[in-house]
Structure formats: structure tokens, C-alpha cells
Symmetry: C2
Subunit: 269 residues, 2 copies
Amino acid sequence: MNLVNGIESDVISLNDRGWNYGDGVFRTLLLRRGRPHCWPRHYAKLRDDCRRLSIECPGTMLFERDLRHVATRHPDCVLRVTVTRGSAERGYAVPPDVPPTRVVAAGAAPVYPAEHRDHGVRARLCRTRLAIQPALAGVKHLHRLENVLARREWNDPGIAEGIMCDTDGNVISGTMSNLFAAFGMELMTPDLTRCGVAGVQRSRVLELAGSHGITARVGILDVEQLMDADEIFLVNSLIGAWQVTALEKKTWRSGRLTAEFRQWLDADD
Amino acid sequence: MNLVNGIESDVISLNDRGWNYGDGVFRTLLLRRGRPHCWPRHYAKLRDDCRRLSIECPGTMLFERDLRHVATRHPDCVLRVTVTRGSAERGYAVPPDVPPTRVVAAGAAPVYPAEHRDHGVRARLCRTRLAIQPALAGVKHLHRLENVLARREWNDPGIAEGIMCDTDGNVISGTMSNLFAAFGMELMTPDLTRCGVAGVQRSRVLELAGSHGITARVGILDVEQLMDADEIFLVNSLIGAWQVTALEKKTWRSGRLTAEFRQWLDADD
């Protein structure tokens, strides 16, 4: 079931600037027993991302009405919540007074193998690099071509995720996840002020670390440093936390930290 | 009038990867008295851009049928021709055997002031930079957020175009046009192997220069060099060629070169 500006529809106008220019932002989250997980955080991120692009974000009440509507039919699903700059005639210039387009789309929750969660995943290093663009860094905008190209680098179903670097060679994230690496007692995650998407679960890990007395740092991380990490894990709103137990030729034993964060992330926010 | 996979429709599926991820490419061109201007070149560029993203490009016959269909109703219009990777379930991974989506959309031809063509335009330097991404450079993919942000930097209708640099400070293009600068007897245009869109009219200018004995060079150009040019002009498939007669505080007198190239570009290909 899909809602476009609150009305049931499976299509979008060909004039929509999201389709024409990637001029919009989105969120992906779980609906569990009718409740959208971490909704206030997702909405805050959606609003912040809209602000970065000067798109007027519809109010949370409108989305919450949509979410209740979807929940009556699909209490357990994946939601994609999208806001675009709206429909307009051809051209990059934005006409005045164009209302944004609001889309809530429900899909089947993905079925990931239980081993990924319980015993960790194999990952690879992607050749596709993330371009450095501070004006868009951190924002989950509709342009995900770099992620698409990176994900096309492998077909092996035994590889669950690819790790991406920026064009300077610094580690940034997975193709669909944020990345954390533990060094001794310290946790670190790549700085995302030049590229990448600063996801909701990444913010939660940083906060949870603080509240559990774990030092967490945002910084620059190269591949060599990553390989030296004591534990690596990936987070997003669908997978929770997966430990990386194999990356290229290096392997790691099952770690304690990922399991702890997974449990904390899974709890209600 | 719009055609989606050859069928009249003004909407696209919410599952289309063009809408979801910017996973597609497009062309903008003029239909004049029922004839698509420079169609073989536009199709070749569409096919090349598809190949860069490993999208299967529909055959030219399918598009030509669409174009004839549109021409019966709108012999003079702007066409936007789009190919996306097709419709699929959520996720960056591309399922096998997804057919591409082919869209031909007709819109009103833009009405630009005659002075732009006859006496040149005022342009500005944009603050928004183009990210360096060799994997996507040259391709007219659906992600045009950088262009949208650059175009939002001004409202003054007296400014016809903005000039964009890459994140290293090199001049790349206009927000919607390719750029040429003349230095004495030599014409040059920025190298687009790291960012920017290598448009059809840019290729034509390079070829036309050759056939008219004008030396044309593709290279690196910074803002200071650009300001020292004897003549600057902008090209795309809708405007033809516009001379830049004012850029920030600097002005240029009407030049001979732009007028010549405009005439050559306007001719049938």
C-alpha cells in the first residue's frame, strides 16, 4: 500500500522533481506491530535533510496519519517515506509556491539470514568511491547512484555488504549502512561532513555509547586502520547491527560489542 | 503528451528506480516541425550513458516510434527522453531481468528573451560546486541536485545562467549548459572526465570547430583564466549558443565567434 500526499496511489507524476532531478530526500524504517520504529528521529532527520535542500517538509502529523493508515493494512512492513520538492514544469529553477510531494510506501520487510545477525557477515571493499560534496554530505537525498554502482560490484550472496571509501580513500560507510569500528575501549565512526549519509541508527549508536560509558569518536579512518580494528559493525534501520566477521581476506571472531549495541538499538527509542 | 514504454501516461510507478534512486539517464531536445533535432546524436549519447551505468538502452526504433507519435500532436515542443533501470522492489541491488523504463515527455518549448540570443547574457559564478566523481562524469544521469542548488542561488531574471566550478575550483560548465572560451584564435572547453555533463551540442561545437579550421582544445580552466577569455559562450540543445557578455563585474563586447557557432549549431545535423 502506497500513499501519495495521503491518497492511495502506486504512481507519481512525471513532473515530480524527485523523478526528474533527484530533488528530494527519504527515510527507510520498520513498522512493527503497527508502530513505526524510531519515528521521531526519522521525522527529525527528514526535516533536517529537507532544510539542507530548502524543501519545505510537511508536518509530522500528516506523516503520522499516513503511517496509521498504512498500519491498519500492513502492521509489519518496511516503510519508505519520501519528500520531494514537488511537481513543476521542466527546468532546474524552482517555481514559487510549489507544494512538496509526500510519499509513504509500504513494502515487505526484508528477510535477512539469521546468521547475519547472530554470527556476523562477510563484507567486501568496493571499488566505487563516494564523491566529496559537502553541500549534500550526510543527507539521504534521492541520488543513490554511487550506492547502486557499488552494489553491482558483487553477486555472491555470501557477501552481505560492501564498504565504500571516498575519492580520497577514507572509509565512509557500507552501501546501505553506517559503519563503526572498535579500537580497544574506543568506538569510532567515519566523519560524514564531506560525503555519506548520517543515518538515524548511527546517531543512536553515538548516543547509546555515551549513555553506557563507551567513548565514541567521529573521525577519519583509512582502510589500513579499519583492518586493524578489534571489532567492526554495520547499522541501519532494517538490519539493526551486523558484525563484520570477514572483510576481504581478514576475519574477526564474534565480538561482544556488536551484540550489546544490537540489543540496545532494537529496544524502543 | 507523455509516453511511458510507448503508452500514453503522465505517471510513473513508485517502484521505478529512477524515482527511488536516480538510477537512470535522460536527454532534452527540440522537436521542430515534427523533427527531433540531432536525434541520432541524442540517441547515441543516451545509449552511451546507459552503458556507463550498465542499463540496457531500448533500441532507437522504439524511441523513433514514440517521437513520431508525439509529433502528430505536438510538432514543436521540448522533449525529455528518459531511460531508467526499470521497476523493482526496494534495495540497491538490481534484480535480474528487469526491463528498463522508457519515457518520452513533451513540454512547451521554453521562451527565452531574443536578446539572450542576439546580444548575449549576464551570468554569475555559483558557490555550489560540482563533486568530482569520475564514475559518473560526463553522464546526464537523473541526479541533478547540484544543478538545482546552484540554480537556487539567484532570482534576478536578468541573470540567465550560472557558471559552476568543481570542488577543486576548476570551471566546468553552466548549470544547464556547456561552456566554451576563446583565447585569441583558440577555443577551449573544460575537461569533463571528473564531473559535469558532456552534452551533444558540446560535441558538435568541437566537431564544427575542426571542420571550420578553428583549433579547439579540451582542458583545465580556472576562473582567472576564464575571466581573461576574449569570448565566452554557452551551448545546449534548447538555447543553441549564448554569448556571455557579463560575468560578475566583467563585461565583453559582442563577439563574432558565438554568432558563427550559433548559426552552425542551428543547422540540421
